[in-house]
Structure formats: C-alpha cells, structure tokens
Symmetry: C2
Subunit: 400 residues, 2 copies
C-alpha cells in the first residue's frame, strides 16, 4: 500500500507543512490533511474497497496513518443507517434516516476522531495526551489512550454528565473537574503543555481527529450507494463532524466516486442556550463571537467558542445549508418522542436536530420528499441526569 | 429464500410442535427450534453468506423468521473480536480475545435475543409483551418493542441499576420496580398473563431469544475462519448465551461448515454471591437448587434459579467445560484492571470472567497457549453505581 498524504495545509492562510512531522495549529488555527487524490483514484477501486472488513479503517488510503503503522483500534464498525419513517412523518418529511453513532466504542461518534488521533500520536512517539472536553471526547480519548498504553489527562467542566467523568477514570485517565466551561479547560491544557510535554488533543488543535470524523461522510456515501442525501442535520459544538463530512464529500467528488453531483445541504443545529454559530451565520460573519453564559443539557454542543468557526461557516454557506437554534426546553421532550418512535436511544444533541427538522420542514426549507439524515452522535444512556425519571414501585396491579 | 424450520422440540422430553404457531414452554421447560440442516447445507454457501451486509440477520437461513417477514431490527452489526494480549498475559494466557457485545443496540448482548423475539412476536400478531429482567434485557426489550410499535411492560428488582430502569422508560415501556428478585418479577408477569394477554418474554419461556443468542456462536466461527477457540468464558445468569452458542456449534458441525472438529470447552462464570449453576455442576446434578440470598453487583448474573438450568449443565458437560464462581468482592477491581489494559469498558459480568480466567490458568485447566474468548456482554457505562468514583476538582496544579 502506498501513502497518499502530500502535505498539511493551514485552513486560515494556505501555508503548507510536511506530513511526516507532528503539527498542531498555524496562527492558532487548524490544519487540513491533503492527499494526492489523483493517485488514490488510480490505485483504489471504490467497489473493491467496500468489500474490506466493516469499519472506518477500510478507507485507509484516505486516512493519514502511513502504511506499516498499526492503527490503535477498538473495532470501529460502520454505524447503522436506520430508516425512521414514523419520526420523519411526525416532523413533516417522508424520507428520514438516522445514522446511529451510539454504536461506536464508548457509545459515541467521538471515537472516530480518537482512533485516528491516538494512532497518529503513537506513530509520532507521543506518550502522554491531554484534552478539554464537554464529555464524550474525554471518555473516548481515555479509552483509546488505554488501548495504546498512553497516559491521558482529561479536563471537564464540573457539571459534565457524571458518566463521562467516570468512564474516563475507569479507563485510567487522570480526570479533573474544572469550575468553568470547556474553553476554560482548554486554557488549562495549553498552559501546562510546556511543563508536561503532553499532546493537546483539543478539537481541531491537532489535524487528525478531523480525518476520523470525515469517515462519517465516507460511510454515508457508501450506504447511500454513492448518491448523497439532500439534507444532513448535525448537532454542532466544535464542528469537526460538519467540517469533516464536507471534506469527505469534496474528496469523493474529486475522486469521481459519487454517482450524483448534488451534494447535501449541511445544517448546523445548536440550542438557543448556546448558539454562537447560528448567530454568526445569521449575521453573515465568518468568525463567531464567544457566546455568553452558555448553557444546555446537550453537553456536546455546549461550546461557546470554536477554533474552527470559520470552517463551519464556510461549510454551511458552500453547501447552501443553514444554521438553526432550537429552544433548550424542548430538548428532553424530543429525546423521549424520538426514542419511542424509533427504538434508538436518542441523545440530547440529536434531539435538538429533531426539533430543527420539524422547524425547517414547517418553514418549507426542507421539502417533504427530500432525503434527510440526522446523526445520533451518542447514546442517550450516558445522559443519566437527563433521562432519570421516577419509576413506580409495583403495588400489585397495573396502573391505568 | 426457503424456510428451513421443521419443528419446535421440547428440551425436556423431545415432544414436537409445529413451527407456524406461537409456542412458549412445554411442562414449564424450554423449546428448541429445529431446522432442516441438510437442506440449508444444499442451498447456502458459507463463503457467500459472509459477503452479506454485516449483522446477525445475514444468517437468515439459520434463524426462525420466515421469508417474507421483515425483521424488527436496530442494525445489529457483527460485534468486534478484539485481541487483549496484555490482559491475557496478566491472567496467564498468550491468546486472549474479547468479543465486545457492548456495541449492540442499547449497549448489550440482550439485543440479539430481542431482535429475534420481537420479530417473531410481530410475525404472530402480538401487540403487547412483558418480561422480568435483571436489567439489560428490559432495556433491550423496550427499545425493540418501540421499534415495532408494541406495548412493553418491564418488571425489575428495585435495586436494578438505574440506567436500566431509565432506558426502558425512555423507550416508552411501562416499568415497575419490584421488591424482590428477578424470580419474583417473573411470577408477576405470569400471574397477569391471562388478564393482559401479553406475551411473556422471560428468558427461555419463548423459543426465539435463544436463536438470537445463537448468533454469538455463528459470528465467532466466522471471525475465527471456521476454526473455533479452545475455551469460551461466559457470564451465566439465565444461560441463553451459553446454550445458544453450543447449539450454534452443533448446527455448524452438522452443516459441515467447521474446519476443525474440536469444539470449545464452555465455562460458566458466576459470582460467589449467586452461583446456583456452579454448585449444581460441582455436585454432578442436572438441575440446580435455587440460590438463597442471591447478591452481586453483576446484575446480569443475579439469577437465583433458571428454567434452562439442565440445558446449561448439559452444555458444560458435553463440551468438557467447567463452572467457576469468583469472589464477589474482586469484581470491581477486575473491571478497572481490564478496562485500563484494553480500552474496552468491561462490565461487571465480564470482569467476573477475567477473574475466572486467571483462576483457571493458575490451576492449569487452561494452558498458556490455548486460544481463549471472553464475552463483554454489556457496556460498563450503564453500571453507574459501580463505576462512580470521586473526581478531583482542579486546584491549579497536577497531583502526583
């Protein structure tokens, strides 16, 4: 197998960097991994590739880990794309699918980024990693660091869902609760970087988590027989998934692997308790202002400021997409409704997307016959604080 | 596609029943589903079958849902078989794999049984199901019932892990906490059956959950290139998985699909806080006495008496296997150790298997070079009561 990465490229000014060294950011902004797609096209057959074992590592030629390096993997199987007809009809569309990312290691889509980031960290000899997290990324980082035999340090806001705290600790990470938001946790990681020598795994501060998230787009193309859906609804915190999927679609387009030229309209979904990207989108700005007093039970999208803001906003505009904030108070109701209609444990972040779908369908922005995909980014079962409910004691007869 | 089920067969006395009617038990004991394996052999090519989409429904000819009936599915992908070298070496063996069942819907292997049971219930026109549960089965039943649009009633001991209670409620089931054990919950389900008309989904009281669990054995054979491991360690409550895997191996053997005649030695693992099967095995008995004062944090194996006891004990003896009880107090330690060494969130039931592995290797019952598979039957992240731990607040510097 050959290696197809040509260089890294600054997303803010286009500066190139060599691919065989560990890079983080440039001018404080993210880097893209770039490939020789012409060479990939010549040597990889799309229809052969999908016969490889199920899992994101089947797209190896479009990933940055060089041949000869074993991935750090926990078995990232292709996640199911499940029809959700009844929920779709309730929301006003006839063709709704849910991509159930809760089926990845640790019950979260964050594992896609971490299998890449930790594999690349090991390839560069890193022994110690650290990250700020809104919850699931910290757990996933701890699991993959454990699998790689690396030390992990995880900094979380002190009101992060309890299961996220415990899972990182169970996996052997050093976990700290921080009075503040994810941005405060990020400041701690950066302030100690020199002293500790750890690799900062913060969202988009190393270039490889993005490549892992890209595989959501690759899988979607494969699962839709290389003809993409019309609309993708995506809960948006740091934005790696949104940006990564759009990168995947560009690469697939360049490779000539898509059967249709039409790309999906990308929709960023946030809570009105924390919606910096929605505000910037509506104001026509390329960079987002930090969102004051950020709050939402959808902890994964409680990100008041994101280093990749301009990449998200560029994606939304390039795809003719939009950005929607849903009422915070509606999120628990959508969790229950969506789980009951689908049998999929819908997390708060995905529940926000259900609310956005209903709004966009009601406004006519999504047409009833369009094909829509919504991402369930984690399992609801990790959000114990949100799903807890009084369970009646058995008193000898069924209540009506 | 043809239908290969020939009949149902009483496990206790061999009585036959027609396959096109809904059956439950005979003389209070379970039924086997029997197939025309000669016909399956003639029409199914093992090496073609494994090119079907990943998931247990690829084995359709060895499952009881007739052609023309759509399964009730949440996308049961083939679960990863992960090498666990470091953990194996700690326990005294060189070739250890973990089959990570936490990657199924709801984070539990119980989904295998429920996708079959609910699919068959729908095929027979059932609108309402009920079950007693130690935890994960109730959650899985609720999710699949939701997907099928059925009513579900779930009865749990009142100290069942909280997440199991909440997930069933989130999925819309009617959930009750019962002062007592799973056997008391089962009595309630049976006492109300006439009045409610619900289908009793209790372990081995309908014949199809067993067929779903059987797929663990089918997947294992496929993943080991049709040459089975030497030893399988399995946490044993109701025993459907143990019995189901052994049934799978018999069927594969009859089909001529195995490349080696040697079948695995099956090991039933329990906690010394609840080990009726271990006691019966040691005493040479075919039926187990109810275990008094059953207690263990491994809620899935807190089953003081099981209707399929003789099927488990027959399996252990036929396979030249054994039964091991591990000290209850050691389970949380094994969870932490195993999760840290593998990156897989190891549930208490699987942690008991790690303890059993170390014991059997130390005693020489398992040889260091034998190939051993251990099942992680659920995600540790649902056992919040067990994984909770104090998380330190950040005070401005790293502790040593």
């Amino acid at each position: 197998m050959s290696y197809y990465v040509t260089h890294l490229e600054s997303a803010i000014d286009g500066t190139h960097f060599p691919p065989d060294q560990l890079h983080t950011t440039h001018s404080g902004r993210p880097l893209w991994v770039r490939y020789d797609l012409e060479a990939v096209r010549r040597s990889v057959d799309r229809d052969q590739l999908i016969r490889r074992p199920s899992g994101l590592w089947r797209y190896r030629e479009l990933l940055p880990l060089p041949p000869g390096h074993e991935p750090v993997t926990l078995g990232e199987t292709i996640t199911p794309l499940l029809p959700a007809g009844e929920l779709g009809r309730l929301c006003g569309v006839q063709n709704l699918w849910i991509k159930d990312e809760s089926r990845l290691p640790g019950g979260t889509f964050k594992s896609r980024g971490m299998t890449l980031a930790i594999s690349m960290a090991r390839r560069f000899g890193v022994k110690r990693v650290a990250l700020p997290t809104a919850g699931n990324a910290g757990g996933a980082a701890a699991l993959y660091a454990a699998a790689a035999g690396m030390e992990a340090f995880v900094f979380m806001p002190d009101d992060t869902p309890a299961v996220n705290q415990y899972e990182a600790a169970l996996a052997g990470a050093r976990v700290y609760r921080v009075r503040g938001l994810i941005s405060d946790c990020g400041n701690i990681v950066r302030s100690l970087q020199h002293e500790t020598g750890w690799l900062d795994l913060s969202t988009l501060r190393e270039p490889y988590r993005l490549e892992g998230k890209k595989t959501m787009g690759l899988e979607l193309a494969e699962q839709f027989q290389w003809r993409l859906p019309d609309v993708i609804l995506y809960p948006t915190g740091g934005g790696t998934g949104l940006i990564g999927m759009w990168k995947a679609f560009q690469e697939l387009s360049t490779l000539g692997w898509l059967n249709s030229e039409k790309l999906p309209r990308m929709v960023a979904v946030q809570s009105d308790g924390c919606c910096p990207i929605v505000r910037a989108f509506q104001r026509g700005e390329r960079f987002a202002q930090p969102f004051p007093n950020a709050h939402t039970i959808a902890s994964g999208i409680r990100v008041p400021s994101a280093v990749g803001d301009f990449m998200m906003l560029d994606t939304l505009r390039a795809s003719q997409g939009t950005a929607v904030a849903v009422p915070e108070a509606s999120i628990p109701d959508w969790m229950r409704i969506a789980t009951r209609l689908t049998g999929i444990p819908i997390c708060p972040e995905a529940a926000a997307c259900v609310g956005a779908l209903q709004k966009l369908a009601a406004e006519g922005w999504i047409h009833p016959e369009e094909h829509v995909v919504l991402f369930n980014t984690a399992t609801a079962l990790k959000y114990v604080e949100t799903i807890q409910t009084p369970i009646p004691e058995w008193k000898g007869k069924l209540e009506r």
